[in-house]
């Protein structure tokens, strides 16, 4: 209530002339009796205001526990136009947690709601609501011969249903969905139908590591061969030095490695076909070979 007043005051300070107008507040209340512990009740407030007027959201009652036995569960709010007026409809849902031992009156306190217009503010009051709550049980059940066993109501029995047909239907549907999913996966080349793009350079990097670990010229030759096979696999055919340009044209991701690739092929020519000498300045060492393979593998991963 204090918040509503404050909001109204602040708004009023800003716009003193042409104040907002609350023409009427109409309550649609539920029955005022016959409530038990845990019941909910819904109150509907219809506030009729000027056409341009709005409810200040901050002045609405706060959702959540109001006091030890009352909780505001929720507020639904909407507005409709009626003639030259605007009707704001609020639906407040409360839940009671009071456990009375005899029928007892309880009161939901009044609340004030601020309404602001183009040039001012007004206040609408939601009146208090008094209703009767009743106990759920006797105070002394023992007197009427109740025991702990008879006093507690039995659990609601679970309904038994025939599930055979449903289960069969579910199974058929599941199988059908799986089949369709498989077809879809095949169509879209999802796993497991999409063959995982082979990564020849990644494999070659491992093989080269192993081969070079053997050491010696045999290891070096094996490492060169491994990279050759990776180039073959990447190109889909046997790749010769003369085809490097065409290969890099179709695999632009490796374009950066062109220099090293050229040097690799020159080194391979020297080793396998006796063109030139291993000891010339163009020597392509084990470290460089490893680096090239790792580099190609990285580019390969980045591109797929």
């Amino acid at each position: 209530m204090v918040r509503a007043l404050l909001a109204a005051l602040i708004l009023g300070a800003f716009a003193q002339h042409a104040a907002a107008e609350v023409r009427s507040v109409r309550m649609i209340e539920p029955r005022p009796f016959g409530y038990f512990l845990g019941d909910t009740l819904q109150r509907t407030v219809e506030i009729e205001t000027g056409l341009e007027d709005e409810i200040v959201p901050a002045s609405l009652p706060r959702v959540g526990p109001s006091n030890y036995w009352l909780e505001l569960r929720g507020i639904e709010q909407h507005a409709v136009r009626r003639g030259d007026a605007r009707v704001h409809i609020l639906k407040l849902t409360y839940q009671m947690f009071y456990a009375p031992i005899d029928p007892r009156k309880q009161t939901i306190p009044a609340a004030e709601i601020a309404v602001r217009g183009a040039g001012g503010a007004a206040t609408a009051t939601i009146p208090a609501f008094t209703f009767l709550m009743s106990p759920l049980r006797e105070i002394f059940p023992e007197k009427s011969g109740e025991t702990a066993e008879t006093f507690l109501r039995p659990d609601y029995p679970n309904g038994l249903r025939r599930s055979g047909a449903t289960r069969t239907f579910a199974l058929i549907m599941a199988a059908l969905s799986l089949g369709l999913l498989a077809l879809l996966a095949r169509e879209l080349a999802w796993w497991p139908f999409h063959r995982r793009p082979a990564r020849p350079f990644s494999r070659a990097t491992r093989e080269i590591g192993r081969a070079l670990a053997q050491g010696g010229s045999e290891g070096y030759r094996a490492a060169l061969l491994a990279l050759h096979r990776a180039f073959d696999a990447a190109a889909g055919r046997r790749l010769m030095a003369a085809d490097v340009d065409a290969f890099l044209g179709t695999h632009p991701e490796h374009g950066d490695a062109r220099m090293a690739v050229d040097r690799f092929f020159r080194a391979s020519h020297a080793v396998f076909f006796g063109e030139g000498r291993r000891s010339n300045p163009d020597t392509f060492g084990a470290v460089e070979l490893k680096e090239l393979a790792a580099n190609l593998a990285r580019q390969e991963r980045a591109s797929r």
């Binding site: 060169l224 061969l225 050759h228 096979r229 073959d232 889909g236 055919r237 046997r238 010769m240 030095a241 003369a242 391979s268 020519h269 396998f272 076909f273 006796g274 063109e275």
Partner: protein, 349 residues
């Protein structure tokens, strides 16, 4: 054998291969003045000349086969003879020239093959498939042994290279070359139309190309000294190395040609297990290696690379692969696919 090596070694010392490479390049530029847009064919022809092998040109009518061979003959130098294949050509017509002399008596003189004697550098057989099998068999001997018997003695032509051409438009009144004859050609080169527009336009509109005789007359004569080519060829073969790996590579190519199925080669619509009736001959293989070595040398390298083998493979090997009759009709496409697949499958190195 040892003697042979020493001899060739001496020859190699005499011959400056670098200078000869320049000469070969000059030969190529000179020939390409007369035949435009056929760089690859000219390169192959040069390879054949230095590999000392015979060449069969094949192509449509009017693509410049004859012009090319005449231009090459002029630039090689040495004596040059030609004969036209006709259906009534007989082996005797190669060797003997018979006529009635002025005194009315018949005379028999040396025919086109013998006329120039040992100096004969290029013998050009035009439209070879119009000649009869008898003629082919004589040609076989000339090509294989570079010799012929006539007038009761042997004539030798140590510097001879046979160029032949045939057009593939007509099939009537022609005789297919026997396998043995085709095998003796180092290369069978298909010659097609130049692919780029500028060259095509020049061929049609440039008046330079209208008069073939004048065009060839302007070329420099005898750039390659024909009587040294044998020595140069030997020197190239001795100087250009082939590594063990390359040798293994060539052998596996050969193996795969003979048995494509085992090499994992599949061709659409072809049972590769039953495709090849007779694979490349050992002679063909040695021709292939010779040509590859020359190709490497022309590229300025001291060792042959797989690329060299691939460059010359089709022209040196395709005509030596014989298919089962069921596939012979589709030969052109199948052989291309087979060789393409070969180089796609056989690992290198």
């Amino acid at each position: 054998m040892a003697l042979d090596r020493r001899e060739s070694g001496e020859v190699a010392e005499r011959i400056d291969l670098r200078e000869w490479r320049e000469r070969a390049q000059k030969f190529e530029t000179e020939v390409s003045k007369a035949v435009v847009g056929q760089q690859r064919v000219i390169r192959l022809l040069t390879i054949a000349l230095f590999a000392r092998g015979h060449v069969l040109l094949e192509g449509d009518v009017g693509v410049g086969k004859t012009t090319l061979l005449r231009a090459a003959a002029r630039c090689v130098g040495g004596a040059y003879e030609r004969i036209e294949g006709t259906i009534d050509l007989m082996p005797g017509d190669f060797i003997y020239h018979t006529y009635l002399a002025e005194d009315g008596r018949p005379r028999v003189e040396e025919g086109p093959v013998l006329r120039a004697g040992e100096d004969l550098a290029i013998f050009f057989f035009n439209e070879i498939n119009r000649a009869r099998p008898q003629v082919h068999s004589l040609l076989l001997r000339i090509m294989a042994e570079r010799s012929v018997s006539a007038f009761n003695r042997e004539f030798h032509f140590p510097h001879l290279v046979v160029f032949a051409d045939r057009n593939r438009v007509e099939r009537e009144e022609t005789f297919e070359l026997p396998a043995a004859a085709r095998d003796r050609f180092l290369m069978e080169i298909a010659i097609g139309l130049p692919s780029d527009d500028a060259t095509r336009r020049a061929l049609a509109f440039d008046t330079r190309y209208h008069d073939g005789d004048r065009l060839i007359g302007q070329l420099e004569q005898g750039i390659l000294k024909h009587d040294l080519l044998n020595d140069v060829g030997r020197a190239i073969q001795n100087e250009t190395k082939t590594s063990d790996v390359l040798e293994r590579y060539v052998l596996s190519l050969w193996e795969a040609v003979r048995n494509p199925k085992a090499a994992g080669i599949d061709i659409d619509g072809v049972d590769t297990a039953r495709l090849v009736a007779a694979g490349a001959s050992p002679r063909g293989l040695s021709y292939l290696v010779r040509a590859a070595r020359v190709a490497a040398w022309l590229d300025g390298r001291s060792a042959a690379l797989p690329e060299d083998v691939r460059d010359v493979f089709f022209e040196t090997m395709a005509h030596r692969i014989f298919f089962e009759p069921a596939y012979e009709l589709r030969r052109e496409t199948i052989v291309r696919e087979l060789i393409g697949a070969l180089f796609d499958r056989i690992p290198v190195p």
